[in-house]
């Protein structure tokens, strides 16, 4: 039972990193990506393969895994981010399929549908928890920075943002690369935590689950996303739902939220640390 709780905490933390990774993209810039799990897959597989086949040390695998995600984000983002938001969302959806197809095809390297095993177990409980906390803090800083406010401007009105001198395309690219790299980081942690990978772990449902968590807590509230991730991951686990029933529950929740409380559970509210608030008022006064 103790092991069970530990594994629950660790998987929750990893999916927390995933959900928080799409917050700057979806919550703040207004771009819907339904393929962020593909980046998780790329991060996981690149680092896993490097560790298993070439025996590279953990930190190098981590670095290369995250960097390859950034590279992929540049390739995908360049043609699609110039266009209407629908194109981006849809291509991200197809990206998920494409990545799964590649993973299945090159079985000699990736292990194919049978999976890649024997990855050394390097993700320990403290590492995962610290990573989750640091990621949340990083994204919170992002939200309060000038860069983050530029994102909010783009989400509210792209044309107006442009007229204020924001390079919308370059900004979207930066956000996309940043978030993809965090998703990749989650993937690396996941690979070295599970010690086993197969393509189905990173399917379409995982990507959409992340978006659903985000929406449920409130697209504009980081606190909301963190809370909803914890609640929506732990609750079905305790109630032991079948996976289809769980997805039905999620979707019904989302429809209710969209229809009746479109800003999510917490709306715009954020948990603020009082010390920082004092500090801020002092500098302003």
């Amino acid at each position: 039972m103790n092991d069970y709780i530990a594994s629950l905490i660790q998987t929750t933390c990893i999916s927390l990193i995933g959900v928080v990774s799409i917050f700057p993209l979806t919550g703040m810039t207004g771009l819907f990506s339904f393929g962020q799990a593909a980046y998780m897959a790329v991060g996981a597989y690149v680092s896993g393969i490097l560790a298993v086949k070439l025996g590279m040390p953990f930190w190098l695998c981590l670095l290369l895994g995250v960097l390859s995600c950034g590279l992929l984000a540049i390739i995908i983002g360049y043609p699609t981010l110039k266009l209407r938001k629908d194109y981006f969302s849809l291509m991200s959806l197809c990206l998920g399929e494409a990545v799964t197809a590649v993973l299945n095809k090159f079985g000699t390297i990736t292990g194919g549908a049978a999976g890649l095993s024997n990855i050394p177990k390097k993700s320990t409980m403290p590492l995962i928890i610290i990573s989750a906390v640091v990621t949340v803090a990083l994204v919170a800083l992002f939200k309060n920075s000038r860069f983050g406010r530029m994102s909010l401007a783009i989400k509210a009105d792209e044309l107006a943002a442009k007229s204020f001198g924001i390079n919308v395309f370059a900004h979207k690219m930066k956000v996309y690369i940043f978030t993809s790299m965090i998703a990749g980081y989650a993937g690396v942690l996941y690979a070295f935590y599970l010690t086993y990978l197969d393509p189905n772990l990173f399917g379409w449902t995982r990507s959409s689950e992340w978006v659903i968590f985000l929406f449920f807590g409130g697209v504009n509230s980081l606190t909301g996303s963190v809370l909803s991730t914890i609640i929506l991951t732990v609750l079905p686990e305790i109630l032991r739902f079948a996976s289809s029933a769980r997805i039905v529950m999620y979707t019904v929740l989302i429809l209710l939220v969209i229809n009746f409380k479109p800003n999510g559970l917490l709306g715009e509210k954020e948990l603020r640390i009082p010390v920082r608030k004092q500090f801020r008022t002092r500098t302003r006064g």
Binding site: P79, K85, Y87, L90, M91, E97, A98, T205, I247, I254
Partner: protein, 293 residues
């Protein structure tokens, strides 16, 4: 050798016909409401199961089974409009909410089907006893001809409806500006409901035909992604463009399946679409949709 490629071309066109049927329903909603309706896939799945019941369980003749499924699809379309989009329209929500709502609804429908029927495959009784026409060494399936013909007939009917009738005029008006249309005395919500019922009927027809062409499982509707790619190639929101795009996509897919194998072809199609977006984002028809200020 030449014969082999001609055969592949025929296979490609017939696969494209299936995609075209999906793409038309998808493009219809896009041209009126300006969002990509992913719930269309959910409707297709539901319709496929309904089609299974009508044609195989109740043993209706094909024409009546198709009509019944179209009716179910239309009803589902209206229900979809009310559970997913009605409140958003009333509140004038941003475009992205429609998008999320539609994806969520699609997932919801498919998973309800999974809960009800499990993931076992069902098969619809074939519509034709002798499905094959042979011309020399070439093989053409009657089913494919029927799908292609039906697609064109439906498209023609739709174009007539949109361009020649009073309803179509109202529909085009709502697609340009909903609020102004209301000021001119057009009941926008009725027009939108009608659009959804038409799209639902199209989803119904594609559902039963897809079911007859492939096997039925709850995630059959995920083919809507192919419909989307087809409408991107053809130009989002353009109905004839969607059909051209779909047939191109079908041919491309079959060619790549022959060249690189079945597993990798989604990746190749993805890369092709990316390149296409880079070169000609407005699509073949050149119908360019931009975000309104």
């Amino acid at each position: 050798m030449v014969l082999f490629y001609v055969q592949q071309l025929i296979n490609g066109v017939s696969r494209g016909a299936v995609y075209a049927l999906i793409a038309v329903g998808f493009a219809l909603i896009f041209s009126v409401l300006k969002f990509s309706n992913f719930a269309h896939g959910g409707l297709i799945s539901v319709a496929a199961y309904a089609g299974y019941y009508f044609s195989t369980k109740f043993d209706f003749p094909p024409v009546i089974a198709i009509l019944c499924t179209a009716l179910i699809g239309a009803v589902m379309g209206i229900i979809l409009n009310y559970i997913a989009f009605y409140n958003l329209q009333r509140r004038n929500s941003p475009n992205i909410f429609y998008f999320v709502s539609s994806i969520t609804c699609g997932i919801l429908f498919m998973n309800i089907l999974t809960l009800m029927f499990g993931t076992t495959f069902y098969a619809i009784k074939p519509f034709f006893k002798n499905n094959i026409i042979k011309i020399g060494n070439l093989i053409i399936l009657k089913m494919d001809i029927m799908i292609l013909a039906l697609t064109f007939v439906l498209l023609a009917a739709l174009m007539l409806l949109i361009n020649r009738t009073k309803m179509g005029l109202a529909l085009r008006m709502v697609s340009i500006d909903k609020d102004t249309a209301m000021l001119m005395g057009v009941n926008s919500s009725v027009v939108i409901t009608v659009t959804f019922s038409i799209a639902g009927a199209l989803a119904g027809i594609s559902g039963i035909l897809l079911g007859a062409n492939f096997t039925i499982d709850p995630f059959l509707g995920n083919m809507v992604v192919k419909g989307f790619i087809a409408s991107v190639i053809g130009g989002l929101g353009s109905l004839p463009g969607a059909i051209i795009g779909a047939i191109l996509l079908g041919v491309m897919e079959v060619i790549f399946t022959v060249l690189v194998g079945d597993i990798l072809s989604p990746a190749i199609i993805f890369v092709m679409t990316l390149i296409f977006l880079l070169i000609r984002p407005q699509g073949i028809s050149g119908h360019f949709v931009t975000e309104k200020a």
